[in-house]
């Protein structure tokens, strides 16, 4: 995520460290110089991600959920769980910001395609729906899964069932030619233009 951030803003590749706080900057759209949006990058460390999500979810006009396409197979449960938490959050459901799932690290050969990632996530979220709603109710009576039921009850979970627009895009912060190459961010930038 933090690699994408300067790439979008200035086109340069920077070395990054694991972030412990958010970073924000104003981004001018390449086509239309007059409109600008503020990009906010949140840390992904498991002890921090929920905290920062809480802080910024109300202000979000759109959410980019970045997925590591290479490590996806291993981490599919964690990814799905975090995505589930984003999707059932009452503020997010109310505002229904546009959601883009950016499958990053496509320059690596073993990266999964966006289609595959979408299928896997749908399956996993389907299972999570069941297990989360079956969890014991919380102490003061409110269900842990939230009163929101993700998607339609009878059918298998599908991203089209969500109230917000969800798109999948492949991108690469590093570019296929290594650090010096151009980052492959066209899909991301196009989507940003659409959203803005």
């Amino acid at each position: 995520k933090l690699c994408l951030f300067p790439q979008l803003l200035s086109g340069r590749y920077r070395d990054t460290q694991t972030s412990i706080t958010d970073s924000s900057a104003v981004y001018r759209l390449s086509q239309d110089k007059s409109t600008s949006v503020t990009l906010i990058d949140l840390p992904g460390h498991e002890s921090l991600r929920l905290q920062f999500l809480e802080r910024f979810k109300a202000a979000a006009r759109a959410i980019v959920f970045v997925v590591d396409s290479v490590a996806f197979q291993r981490e599919v449960k964690d990814v799905a769980e975090f995505l589930y938490q984003v999707l059932v959050d009452s503020t997010v459901l109310r505002n229904a910001p546009a959601l883009l799932i950016a499958c990053n690290k496509q320059d690596v050969t073993m990266a999964k395609s966006a289609k595959l990632i979408q299928q896997q996530l749908e399956k996993e979220l389907n299972t999570l729906r069941v297990t989360r709603s079956a969890a014991p109710t919380s102490l003061d009576g409110s269900a842990t899964g939230g009163p929101a039921q993700l998607g339609k009850k009878g059918k298998d979970f599908d991203f089209s069932q969500l109230p917000m627009k969800v798109e999948f895009v492949e991108c690469s912060a590093r570019g296929s030619k290594g650090e010096e190459g151009e980052a492959d961010l066209e899909g991301l930038e196009k989507w940003l233009v659409k959203v803005a």
Binding site: S10, K77, T137, S138
Partner: protein
């Protein structure tokens, strides 16, 4: 930077501060003008500066040679001549005069130097080693007086220039007590001849400088008590808030100061927060949080808030409360996934049973909550095998048998496609618990059970042989989930229990990464109304999530933790 405790580098904190300040000062303009883009686009050639700072820090921390004890020759005692230790009445006034003259010149020198300067932790003693001086009683008195003045003016001290002393003493010298040397005669200042007549008093040698102390003062002016730490403190605060361009204390004084305090842009100091934190700490302890945990929590909140600029119209109390609340929610919110059902499904796919072990001290509710959890699992369609590894307590096996019977009555095999949802695996009393557990798991694998719940005997954390036995059971059987069952009524004991249980599990495991407690079951939650502090203590110590909360003795009394509600109950007055 690595963990300080592992590397034991004493200079790390100071180094970080120095680097922070230096970097900020050097690139201040870039940040201020360009903001985040400046960060991204600018090049920061800081490597040389960093290496220099690192070298300085390392050198400053080099181990100093252990201080050598003073030899006798160097000590003060050897410098005192026999002459000065002998008191003779007649010579006294002459000596006094002579010494005063000497003292006068020397004293002026030191006093001029004793101008108030920034106290930079100078701890030089006035009578440093190697100080060679003749010390009469009066000299000692004067020395003390000077020290007194010096301390009050917080001056940097200069060590006395050593005066050469020729005589060296041999033999035994009478001990000279600095302040206890006077006899009644010396203290008797009344002069029988002059009592009653004013003029006939002998004129005392009055040294005005000595009496007034400071040669450089303006006559007639009353100085304030110098209090330098305040200046340094303010400087620190300014240093710590570079990015907040808020309106700093300008030259406004007087009544505007009061308004300033209301309108904010005041930064928090430790002293402001201390009374509030004390109150919060007592409040937490009253809510059954373990005492050491409450102290540590308040400490960390204080550290986090130190130097923070408060917003407008917020009081110190509200800021501290807010920060404490956030910290508590952060503690209680599980960082790892707490989804047992998901993991059971995974194990199901791999055709092996999911093993859960319950451990805890006596009487916390292991068997009861085991039954509740098996009910919950059956409701979700998983078949359960209960392993009765409590082979000590009378009636343990019968208790589990009764639960099994009841659960089977509630969920008869007919409604689940013909298979019994819950079965009990027991081998009576007195046998080895680890062995029974192993047999139960292989039985479950053969019969196709989804979950195995292992019930162990309650044991005190101090009971070494029992703790070893538990550790062996867990190490040998490698369960998927080790749950520590703790009651919500426990107070400071919670800390001790958890620490000792974890320690025992770690010590007796042969593996590289020992299996420790993975989750906590908090039981008897219905018996405490809002004294929910045990939850905080337990999660703080282990940093593992609270997986289940038990709120009663029927099968439906199983809940999951709602972090916000618990924190709200905790912070409620």
């Amino acid at each position: 930077v690595g963990f300080q405790k592992i590397l034991t580098l004493t200079y790390v904190d100071k180094l970080i501060d120095d680097v922070h300040k230096e970097f900020r000062d050097k690139y201040r303009n870039e940040f201020q003008q360009k903001g985040a883009l400046g960060l991204l686009n600018g090049t920061f050639d800081f490597k040389d500066d960093f290496m220099r700072l690192l070298r300085d820090a390392e050198e400053s921390s080099k181990v100093r040679a252990p201080t050598v004890m003073k030899t006798f020759e160097q000590s003060l005692k050897s410098q005192k001549t026999v002459k000065c230790m002998i008191e003779t009445r007649g010579e006294k006034p002459k000596e006094k005069v002579k010494n005063k003259k000497n003292k006068g010149s020397k004293k002026d020198g030191t006093e001029a130097v004793a101008v108030p300067s920034k106290a930079s932790a100078a701890d030089k003693q006035p009578s440093a080693a190697g100080d060679k001086e003749e010390l009469t009683k009066d000299e000692i008195l004067q020395k003390n007086r000077e020290e007194f003045f010096r301390r009050h003016m917080k001056a940097g001290e200069k060590s006395r220039s050593p005066k050469p002393d020729a005589q060296k003493e041999k033999g035994k010298k009478p001990r000279v007590w600095d302040l206890g040397n006077s006899n009644a005669k010396v203290l008797d200042y009344s002069n029988s001849a002059t009592n009653g007549s004013a003029e006939a008093c002998p004129v005392e040698e009055f040294d005005p400088d000595m009496a007034l102390g400071d040669k450089n003062r303006e006559p007639g002016r009353l100085y304030d008590l110098e209090y330098e730490s305040d200046d340094e403190g303010e400087e620190e605060k300014v240093v710590q808030n570079p990015s907040k361009p808020s309106v700093k204390k300008g030259g406004l004084g007087g009544m505007f100061g009061m308004l300033k305090g209301l309108v904010g842009s005041k930064s928090l100091t430790r002293d402001d927060m201390d009374p509030v934190l004390e109150k919060m700490k007592d409040h937490l302890i009253a809510k059954n949080v373990a005492a050491e945990i409450a102290v540590q929590l308040c400490e960390s909140v204080a550290k986090k808030l130190e130097g923070k600029v408060m917003g407008t119209f917020t009081t110190v109390t509200s800021t501290v409360k807010q920060a404490l609340q956030e910290a508590l929610v952060q503690i209680l919110q599980p960082q790892r996934r707490v989804d047992v059902l998901r993991d059971v499904m995974d194990a199901q796919r791999h055709r092996r049973p999911y093993v859960v072990t319950f451990c805890g001290v006596n009487g916390v509710g292991k068997s009861t909550n085991l039954a509740k959890i098996s009910f919950w699992l059956i409701e979700n369609g998983f078949s359960v095998l209960i392993a009765a590894c409590d082979t000590f307590r009378a009636g343990a096996v019968e208790q589990l048998r009764t639960h099994t019977r009841r659960l089977n009555a509630l969920h008869p095999p007919e409604s689940h496609g013909g298979r019994t949802m819950v079965q009990l695996y027991e081998k009576g009393y007195g046998k080895d618990a680890a062995g029974i557990a192993m047999e139960a798991i292989s039985y479950a694998r053969n019969q196709g059970f989804d979950v195995v719940l292992v019930d162990t005997a309650g044991r005190m954390q101090d009971n070494a042989p029992l703790m070893t036995a538990l550790a062996k059971l867990i190490a040998v059987n490698a369960p998927d989930l080790v749950l520590f069952v703790g009651e919500a009524l426990v107070g400071n004991e919670a800390v001790d229990q958890l620490v000792k249980f974890n320690k025992a599990l770690a010590d007796h495991s042969m593996a590289q990464t020992p299996r420790l407690i993975d989750g906590i079951v908090l039981t008897k939650f219905d018996t405490i109304d809002d004294k929910v502090g045990a939850a905080i203590s337990m999660t703080y110590i282990t940093s593992k999530p609270i997986v289940f909360v038990g709120t009663g003795q029927t099968y439906c009394d199983l809940r999951s933790l709602n972090a916000k509600a618990v924190v709200a109950a905790l912070m409620k007055a």
